[in-house]
Symmetry: C2
Subunit: 301 residues, 2 copies
């Protein structure tokens, strides 16, 4: 095996790049602006990688996580946030780098794989990661493998329609998706609806912080958000029955104040056989995707 590999997580705003040793240790990390999205993303990334000290010959390969469905040949099928239609990411990036092996996977799947490999899911076989950010990403591992599904929609838990009676629309075009309640955006939406008096920055963090110090409206908002998430996770458990459910993303940093209502609603709603499922916070934070992206390069199955 060659001495290095890159794990790359391409997001709508930043591209995270990690340089890993052959033993899986993270040696150095960078964040690059994604810049104007579209056709320039891969050439810009390639140029940046070619400008590093590490020559391409010293790389075992590059793993890339992208925010969209990925086919088994590394072709991406519509990444709205990147302005991409159908793009053969693995082939294009490899060509730009003189033939270095490139693997591509969905970013939420990369994140759960990262947590499984070197994070809070180490040693587990059946694992769910819900990443609560601007939206809600889901990654599911069954028997040690990513559940990506027949159309790349496996683990799309943010669009579980928890509340068919909702009147407002989700950006996906439906009404009542989990993402409308338990993402950072969703928490802000609930806070506005409940008349939370946002004194400061108007962020979900502000609502979560206020709930922690006992603001009754903020507590009611966070309880509602957590309850919808707990209900959705009970559905996930009636299907995939994981041994461990991890919460990641910005909202999860609030810790117990959000975990408590999630757990309470989960236990009230889930099939009794899965009532004892463990809950924990993800460990790798925003680096989980980089880790998961490079995992398949350094430890192919």
């Amino acid at each position: 095996m060659k001495p290095y590999a890159y794990g790359v997580d391409i997001g709508g705003t930043t591209i995270k790049v990690g340089l890993f040793g052959a033993d899986g240790g993270l040696l150095e990390r960078w964040e690059l602006p994604t810049g104007r999205v579209g056709a320039q993303i891969l050439p810009n990334l390639a140029q940046w990688l070619l400008g590093r000290e590490i020559p391409m010959e010293a790389l075992e390969g590059i793993g890339v996580g992208v925010p969209g469905p990925v086919l088994s040949d590394g072709t991406v099928n519509r990444c709205v946030n990147l302005g991409w239609g159908v793009v053969p990411v693995a082939r294009n990036l490899s060509d730009l780098l003189g033939g270095v092996p490139v693997q591509v996977l969905n970013d939420a799947n990369a994140a759960v794989l990262g947590e499984l490999w070197q994070g809070a899911g180490r040693g587990r076989e059946n694992l769910v990661l819900a990443t609560l950010g601007t939206g809600i990403g889901g990654g599911i591992v069954v028997g040690g493998k990513i559940l990506s599904g027949a159309h790349g929609a496996g683990g799309e838990i943010g669009h579980i329609q928890v509340n068919p009676r909702e009147l407002e629309y989700c950006h996906c075009g439906k009404r009542g998706c989990l993402e409308q309640y338990a993402s950072a955006t969703g928490i802000l939406r609930l806070a506005k609806a409940q008349g939370f008096n946002a004194g400061g920055s108007g962020t979900a963090k502000e609502v979560l912080d206020a709930a922690k110090v006992g603001d009754p409206v903020a507590q009611s908002v966070v309880t509602e958000a957590g309850s919808w998430l707990g209900l959705a996770l009970s559905y996930v458990a009636c299907v995939a029955d994981p041994e461990l459910i991890l919460l990641g993303g910005g909202v999860s940093k609030a810790g117990e104040v959000i975990l408590a209502p999630v757990r309470a609603q989960y236990r009230a709603s889930v099939f009794h056989g899965a009532a004892e499922t463990e809950f924990a916070l993800a460990a790798l934070g925003n680096d989980a995707g980089m880790y998961g992206a490079v995992k398949g390069i350094l430890e192919p199955e």
Copy 2:
């Protein structure tokens, strides 16, 4: 390989036994009364099998489906309908039959495996079977393998809490489980609540038949039942993203009258990436469990 194998499906009322050839063909089938449930089930079954023409030496093995969670060593952990607590079914039955190899699996998992092997799911890799009988059983295949989960609760779709606002209790102790709406029992419950004028036998079949010939109350009942099922299956798809969803069990025999509202609600509720999932009726009927039970004997992985 020896010339024969038995596939057995133990239910609360009857035990179905199929004699299979080494090529997987069903040669003969029987239905035995389960009789008084409890400790006598396995000795009675063993005695019956020992009374057949086929000597134990001619058997490759016996596969058994049971209505409860099964651990990987073939121990059953509580089958309420059989009056069993923790029972090492594989070991006990094998001992009673002079050491014939016995494999045990959950009956809903056996049914989906049967459909995958020789039924409506042949050649598929990602498949869901919802069996609509007295209750609702679910079996899920991902990448060609049963998704049984960390606690044997994988695919327990009958206890997805689709309607947390429900006031009546499910027999599992929760309120609002899918089983309360879309099982045969659930359809009867809805029919009573909507004032369906049951002229005849008071069965779910009567309601479904009346819907077929245009009875407006019966149609409203069946639409409600199908909508809850379609909503729950949209949740299943946001988790496991199957390529094909099969409906089996007595209720599914009604065909299009139940399939149509299921599909309509599914498409309205599911994540767009999984909107094109196929729906079909299961093909093996009540024999699916026998087929699936023997599959692992005749074609071990």
